[in-house]
């Protein structure tokens, strides 16, 4: 059996695709994409995501934000997924999914607070049932199983949508939950962001499986691959899957083929383990230029609108960054006050001690 190669997102093997890398239409577009103008919101969301990423990286570099995981090159996934979900569905993201979060109504300030080291960022003002970003790889898939079960038990037409990376598909949590979801036929969509790398581990070293989509066979349902750099393809596949799930169909799995154009996080240096040429080649396939080319070709978009959009995004981000930077740190008592519904008596003296010894400065000797 062949060892899988790290898929080139250029190749034919990226699954379902509507737009070529150059923005050419390859097959009849799905209903939602018939009117190019209707695609503008998706384009806008991707551009905003990338602009936000850029700013977050800059904040991190200047010591104003903690470690940050950019979604550069993978914007079509978050946008494709979240734009197909309904408000009442539940998103269970991993740490690279602020793109999806933004569309779900999580604010930029909240996202910045989280990555800036403040739990209040997870207290979403909208999207109240969505889970926060998840750091322990694949552990969120178990939660998604439970969320989906609760929906099924209550005969709701809601669905749970769980995002995970290619590396996450090696983990027991992913498999156990997928298997249980298959046995229980719960309304759960697993969406794999296959960006070809798990920090320094290339897709080929992660699993000998020819595709990650085929892993669903182990749980008794089918997985499909889509071009994760084509937001139309992602959204179409997700919409299709969610319709099936709402109709009582079992779980679904989509492997979205994309590429991590940036470092793993701001704490990583990808030049240590992958060739610059690989990365620059992959820039040809990235999702934003692709959709822009299409929109420009159809006359639905142009240079001026693009400049206006960039400005608009920058202003929106400016406001969020200002609000973020103006947010005072949480009170030390916050460590205690959200741990249990009510503070146990045993913790009261410790809380007092924390207040007594609270230091105003933020010591960073590390």
């Amino acid at each position: 059996m062949d060892r899988p190669m790290n898929a080139d997102t250029d190749s034919q093997n990226v699954g379902s695709r509507f737009l070529s890398p150059a923005g050419q239409v390859l097959q009849r577009l799905p209903a939602f994409a018939q009117d190019p103008a209707a695609l503008a919101p998706l384009y806008r969301a991707m551009v905003l995501t990338r602009a936000f990423d850029t700013r977050a990286m800059a904040l991190q570099r200047t010591g104003k934000l903690g470690t940050f995981a950019s979604s550069l090159g993978q914007e079509a996934i978050g946008v494709g997924v979240a734009s197909a979900m309904l408000f009442n569905d539940v998103l269970l993201p991993y740490y690279r999914d602020h793109g999806a979060q933004l569309l779900r109504g999580v604010t930029m300030v909240e996202i910045l607070l989280y990555w800036g080291g403040d739990e209040r960022g997870n207290d979403f003002s909208a999207a109240r049932r969505d889970f926060p970003l998840c750091v322990p790889i694949a552990s969120q898939v178990c939660h998604a199983l439970g969320v989906a079960y609760a929906m099924k038990l209550r005969r709701e037409r809601r669905v749970a949508v769980c995002l995970l990376g290619d590396g996450a598909t090696s983990k027991g949590d992913f498999y156990e939950s997928m298997n249980m979801a298959g046995a229980w036929r719960v309304p759960l969509l697993l969406l794999i962001n296959n960006n070809q790398w798990a920090i320094s581990a290339p897709r080929s070293a992660q699993s000998a499986a020819r595709t990650l989509a085929q892993k669903a066979l182990a749980a008794g349902f089918e997985g499909i691959q889509v071009d994760g750099n084509d937001v139309i393809a992602v959204r179409a596949a997700v919409q299709n899957a969610l319709d099936t799930l709402r109709g009582g169909g079992g779980p679904a799995l989509i492997e979205a083929m994309t590429y991590r154009l940036g470092d793993h996080t701001t704490a990583d240096d990808a030049t240590r383990y992958r060739a610059a040429e690989e990365v620059s080649r992959q820039w040809q396939f990235e999702p934003i230029a692709r959709l822009r080319n299409y929109l420009v070709n159809t006359g639905a978009w142009g240079k001026e609108r693009d400049e206006h959009l960039q400005r608009e995004c920058a202003e929106q981000i400016d406001r969020a960054v200002d609000a973020y930077l103006a947010t005072p740190p949480p009170a030390p008592a916050a460590m205690f006050d959200h741990l249990y519904a009510a503070l146990p008596a045993a913790l009261a003296p410790q809380r007092d001690s924390a207040l007594r010894f609270a230091s105003p400065e933020d010591k960073r000797d590390g």
Binding site: V90, N122, G146, A150, D173, E176, Y340
Partner: protein, 326 residues
């Protein structure tokens, strides 16, 4: 009032709460048709349906993790781990998620779940069926760690655990499941989850214990009583958060304390109690605090397991040492 043994009391509490709260669901391996390998869930699937009493595939990580998802979505899942020796694959979900969901979302999402598990040695079970890892959970902020030592406390504490808005780990001593019966009023009354129970009062010394070892501890107290020595006997019941105040109060009175638990000594939860005594009760201590515990070894297979378990003799020896200390 019915005479129930401990496993029947567990069953009664589960049934009561399933009947009174539509959000409660049970999940676990073999808990449905089979009624659980110890019959703790006997008859519940027939009564409440397979959607609320849910047989799972064999996967402890997913069981714990799914319970978290259910809880966040408003259910009150009570998950069973078939034996505590198989709870470790669930630990990641418990430590990294269940215990933190409220905290990390500032209360937006919460985790009102219970993880039940039969625990402890002494029933000559196969390998990996005799563990007592309560100290692991009692160290994790955000959890409650609860262990009943009698049918009535099993009933009341389990009801409290299910109703508690935060995650509760609930260990049921297998050795006690069928060992004795007790009047239990199936009236839905819960017991507090933040208090030790003083199960016997005396003036000369304090015994602190929990779970199955309370039996041997009470036996030792009986023997001492026959010799004219009276002891407070405290059933800790809720190890986390710990009601140290009750223990300190008793030791302030007696000055002598013997802690008895089944788990290995080193880093066992008895250490926390001893530490609490030397931090906050040093001046009242008339003798070294003794711990009578399982040894720091792997729980042996059946032929040696009673050499491992604290015996009445070992407890008595420790108590005498404490009493005689000048």
């Amino acid at each position: 009032m019915a005479e129930l043994n401990l496993v029947e009391a567990v069953n009664a509490a589960l049934a009561y709460e399933l009947a009174h709260d539509a959000c409660v669901v049970l999940l676990g391996e073999d808990i449905g048709v089979n009624g659980g390998v110890f019959r703790a869930t006997l008859g519940l699937q027939a009564r409440f349906g397979a959607e609320r009493v849910l047989d799972t595939p064999l996967a402890e990580t997913a069981i714990a993790g799914a319970a978290i998802g259910m809880a966040a979505e408003g259910l009150k899942p009570v998950a069973e781990i078939q034996f505590t020796g198989f709870i470790y694959p669930a630990l990641d979900q418990i430590v990294n998620h269940a215990s933190r969901l409220r905290h990390r979302t500032r209360g937006r999402l919460t985790c009102p779940m219970v993880l039940r598990s039969p625990y402890g040695a002494g029933i000559h079970a196969p390998e990996h069926h005799s563990e007592s890892p309560e100290a692991l959970f009692a160290h994790v902020p955000g959890l409650r760690m609860v262990i009943p030592s009698s049918p009535s406390r099993a009933y009341g504490l389990l009801l409290a655990a299910i109703r508690d808005p935060d995650p509760v780990i609930f260990f049921e001593p297998t050795r006690l499941y069928r060992l004795f019966r007790q009047e239990v009023d199936d009236n839905g009354a819960a017991l507090p989850l933040d208090a030790c129970f003083v199960v016997r009062e005396g003036g000369d010394m304090t015994f602190v214990s929990w779970g199955a070892m309370l039996r041997e501890t009470l036996d030792a107290a009986d023997i001492l009583a026959g010799e004219g020595v009276t002891a407070d006997v405290i059933d800790v019941a809720t190890l986390k958060p710990l009601d140290m105040a009750t223990i300190l109060e008793s030791v302030a009175k007696t000055g002598r304390c013997v802690i008895v638990h089944e788990a290995a000594r080193s880093g066992g939860f008895g250490a926390e109690i001893a530490a609490g005594l030397v931090e906050h009760g040093l001046s009242s201590l008339l003798a070294p605090v003794q711990r009578v515990t399982g040894y720091d070894v792997v729980v042996p297979l059946a032929r040696l397991e009673y050499q491992y378990l604290p015996s009445v003799e070992r407890i008595l020896a420790a108590a005498r040492a404490a009493l005689e200390f000048k």
